[in-house]
């Protein structure tokens, strides 16, 4: 089955201050502060559940979460 790994799409390193708020509020622990750049990075994208916590908390408007969730096996098919 094709998987669309698009939920949390990007964190803009130009505007991210590395404050870590997004890392703190992610329920599924998708984000980390990169040890080198000291910016927030998407480390485990496949665990994102499109809740927008990170985007809502970000004081710098650096995060974009796509509104479409990851494709999951549907229960019924129409073929």
């Amino acid at each position: 089955m094709p998987r669309r790994l698009i939920m949390i799409k990007k964190i803009d390193p130009k505007t991210c201050t590395g404050c870590g708020l997004c890392v703190d509020v992610c329920p599924t622990d998708v984000l980390r502060i990169d040890e080198g750049s000291r910016k927030a990075v998407i480390r485990y994208q496949e665990n994102c559940m499109t809740c927008y916590n990170c985007e809502l908390e970000c004081p710098c408007d650096s995060i974009f979460v796509d509104p479409f969730r990851k494709a999951i096996q549907p229960i019924i098919s129409y073929s």
Partner: protein, 569 residues
């Protein structure tokens, strides 16, 4: 104790609460009235893995002047007779007390002319719910005020702490072992009593914000000797095909309808009386049958909703507000165009407990939605109402238990074994946890396994689960601690999947959300019973326990599933 220190960080507490949803938070606050040391931990950030956090936050509330007999009869009917009548009554008796608790902490519930505005649910005659302000983020507000109150009371919070096993001494639960989901640091909790309040179970499914519901609490309680119950009753729901959505349960009673590919509001043929007000497990069943008849896919049509109701539905706050804005930006108009929707798996639960929220294992208590109550049908606003009442009750009873017991020793060898087993899969990846998740979903998310069940499909699914257990799980490796969490969650999902399938095979009738194509009728003669699943010496046992109807106040006489019929093609 000193010998334990070399294995991990040791924390002693009177009451340990695993899971910081609305139930766990109420449990902590109530327990604190009796004991000094209350610890609430969660595998995610405290409060933000709560299902309540994402919900509208409605509560069923039995108010002064309501007739309890009417309410209980509603629930018995709704649950096709398979109702814990004494428990449901005891919950309703306390729902308004918990509303008052929340109001005292600043939560406002919608009122008109000074009176609570009450909402109907699933076509029931008497049961009614209240909803908090502001519309859309009521659940978040409730969680946040409870967290603040917990902090004020000095309750210890521990975020991102994943419990793998409960610890036992002389057959009683005396603590738990856990690890930090980032650093991997090992924790050993020594507790006077333990409450599991980990919420509902899903397979990280399609429904909104379920990426962390993986059955951890059910699995740890089961392994510690508790019984699980009602696992054949998967709760089904509906969701958009490509994105998540909250509060469809509000839109359908207001006139929104699911139509098939021909534009027909087909549910009227399946339930002429309840139509779109019918429980979602039945709506999902009708969709599955329509799909088999070549009438899928399905769309949600809001054009039949009155303008003032549509305005109410559109007015959102919090995450749903930003969600709707984003969808519009990419050309999706959720209210103005027909959107594709599909049936989805919502939850299964849970652990068997008594009126005092005790399991059969001394020292182990259960709060909230991880406890089993209903047979896969879900009244609106019942989940949060029951979670608040049972959380509060669990907190009191667990604290009283802790007061009356000397703290017991923890077996160093037991901790050492659990720790060694936990970290063993860290290493080079041969098979990663994401592959396991996809395999589980492929097996379980099948029409004939979840919605229109039959023996052949259930047995085939069970065989596939066995092969995962034998061939895949031993090969699983985690590159880091995060993947170790995913792996442990995967193991728990596989266990619950096996138990669900076994229970579904055992119940040779149709009731509540459990529908067997090969046994399509209610069979009260043989199946006015609960199926209980437990483990002894490594063997899984299933047994059927009759309802104590001689002790209950009412005999079932009406059945909700009689509202559903399969129309001629």
């Amino acid at each position: 104790m000193a010998s334990l220190e070399h294995l991990g960080k040791v924390i002693e507490t009177d009451v340990l609460i695993i899971g910081a949803g609305i139930s766990g938070l109420f449990a902590g606050i109530r327990a604190r009235a009796f004991v000094d040391r209350v610890t609430v931990l969660d595998k995610g950030p405290i409060g933000k893995t709560s299902q309540c956090y994402w919900a509208l936050g409605g509560h069923q509330s039995f108010l002064p002047g309501d007739n309890m007999d009417d309410w209980i009869r509603d629930v018995i009917y709704f649950e096709d007779g398979l109702c814990e009548q004494d428990l449901v009554e005891s919950v309703y008796e306390e729902t308004f007390d918990r509303i008052k608790d929340l109001e005292a902490l600043g939560v406002e519930f919608i009122k008109e002319d000074g009176q609570y505005r009450r909402f109907t649910t699933r076509g029931l005659d008497h049961v009614r719910g209240l909803r908090p302000h502001p519309h859309g983020i009521g659940g978040k507000v409730e969680i946040e005020v409870l967290i603040e109150e917990s902090k004020r009371l000095g309750i210890q919070f521990l975020s991102r702490c994943f419990v793998t096993d409960l610890l036992k001494h002389d057959d009683a639960v005396v603590g738990a072992v856990a690890f930090d989901v980032r650093s991997g640091e090992y924790y050993i909790f020594k507790a006077g009593a333990v409450i599991v309040s980990t919420g509902q179970f899903s397979f990280k499914g399609h429904y909104a914000c379920q990426g962390y519901l993986t059955g951890d609490g059910m699995a740890m309680a089961f392994k510690a000797g508790a019984e699980l119950k009602n696992l054949e009753f998967a709760t089904l729901w509906i969701q958009p095909a490509n994105y998540i959505w909250e509060a469809i349960g509000t839109a359908l009673p207001m006139g929104a309808q699911i139509v098939n590919a021909k534009g027909e509001p087909f549910i009227e043929k399946y339930s002429p009386k309840l139509k779109s007000k019918i429980d979602f497990s039945f709506l999902a069943r009708a969709m599955a049958i329509e799909a088999k008849r070549g009438n899928g896919p399905f769309f949600l049509d809001h054009s039949t909703v009155k303008p003032e109701d549509l305005a109410f539905l559109k007015k959102r706050a919090g995450w749903m507000e930003i969600h709707i804005e984003k969808l519009k930006k990419v050309g999706v108009e959720p209210f103005d165009e027909k959107q594709e929707w599909m049936p989805v798996f919502w939850t299964v639960q849970g652990i068997k407990a008594d009126l005092d929220c005790r399991t059969k294992v001394p020292g182990l208590f259960v709060g909230g939605r991880v406890r089993s109550i209903d047979p896969g049908v879900t009244m609106g606003s019942w989940s949060i109402a029951s979670a608040t009442v049972l959380g509060y009750r669990t907190g009191e009873n667990a604290a009283r238990f802790a007061q009356g017991h000397q703290s017991s020793g923890i077996d160093e060898a037991e901790v050492n074994l659990a720790k060694t087993k936990l970290y063993a899969p860290l290493g080079e990846v041969e098979m990663d946890p994401e592959a396991l998740l996809q395999r589980i979903q492929k097996i379980l998310f099948d029409t004939n396994v979840l919605i229109l069940k039959n023996e052949k499909a259930l047995k085939a699914a069970l065989d596939q689960i066995f092969s995962i257990q034998e061939e895949m799980i031993p090969q699983m490796r985690a590159r880091d601690v995060h993947e170790l969490v995913e792996l442990k969650q995967g193991e728990n999902m596989v266990l619950i999947a096996e138990l669900m399938l076994r229970a579904s095979l055992m119940r040779t009738e149709s009731r509540g959300s459990h529908y067997r194509e090969d046994y399509p009728r209610l069979d009260n003669e043989n199946w006015m019973k609960w199926i209980l699943v437990s483990q002894e010496n490594g063997d899984i046992n299933l047994r059927a326990e009759p309802l104590p109807l001689d002790k209950y106040r009412f005999k079932p006489t009406r059945y909700y599933s009689d509202n559903f019929r399969i129309p001629e093609q």
